[in-house]
Amino acid sequence: MALNQAFLNRSYPSKETFKVTKDQINNFAKSIGDSNSYVSDGFASPTFLISIQMGAMQVALFDPELGLDWNKVVHGEQSFEYKKPVKVGDELSFISTIEDIKTKVGNDFITIRSDVKDSNNKDVATLRATLIARGTG
């Protein structure tokens, strides 16, 4: 089943801000083997924000009207553009937008962009995730 094109360009602001703790930064760094000194200085590893984007995306992606079959979803692409590093104490907000929906050779593709800002409304990063639902098109 093709994805519902009505979802294109829809935006989902995060309902609450996400406060970054030292434990989260340390646990994430430890789980990926990042032992660089910026971690003990309170800065997050480059892909840390994915742990927040996942939650921010789910509101959109689990909407049954979108038609995404989670049993067939794989992660196709991921990107991060950084404006400033994430650090302990940051209070981050997310706006996630469905940027692209297409069907190619029977597979559904959906790209979600998440724009991340801090509590001073300064840009922190932009993430893009492309998910592929195989053989549902």
Partner: protein
């Protein structure tokens, strides 16, 4: 700022390589740290029921370890300007003590404006590329 100077690096320079052995416990640790508790990464029976050969690693774990190749070299989080990957093949992680070894490498592909460089990253598992086109843009001093 990183100690690595733009004037002192050349296109074609290979960053120090990294090998990582993925074990089941690594996937549990990453699931807990990242919040991605998808059962294809944690539950062998479930993974097989959806047609996978066994539990597979989170693609984002592979992306993160590929990032270590660059951050271990630059030692500066401010230097990382963008990071993008394509996932091309899963890393299968059987339940054994030796784990599944993935070898990570990075090479300077281009020197660009404002003392930035483009680094191409590779990750191979038993010779098979597990990442497609994967790039970090980094700011040197």
């Amino acid at each position: 700022m990183t100690d690595i100077r733009f004037d002192e690096v050349e296109v074609g320079f290979e960053l120090p390589k990294l090998a990582h052995s993925y074990k089941r416990q690594d996937l549990i640790n990453y699931a807990n740290a990242s919040g991605d508790q998808n059962r294809i990464h944690l539950d062998e029976e479930f993974a097989k029921s959806v047609g996978l050969p066994d539990v597979i690693a989170h693609g984002m774990l592979t992306m993160a370890i590929a990032g270590n190749v660059v951050t271990n070299w630059l030692k500066d989080i401010n230097a990382i300007k963008s990071f993008s990957v394509k996932f091309s093949s899963p890393v299968v992680v059987p339940n054994n003590s030796e784990g599944t070894i993935v070898e990570f490498s990075g090479k300077i592909e281009e020197k660009i404006d404002n003392k930035q460089i483009k680094i191409g990253l590779e990750a191979r598992c038993q010779g098979v590329k597990v990442l497609g086109r994967s790039i970090i843009i980094a700011q040197l001093s």
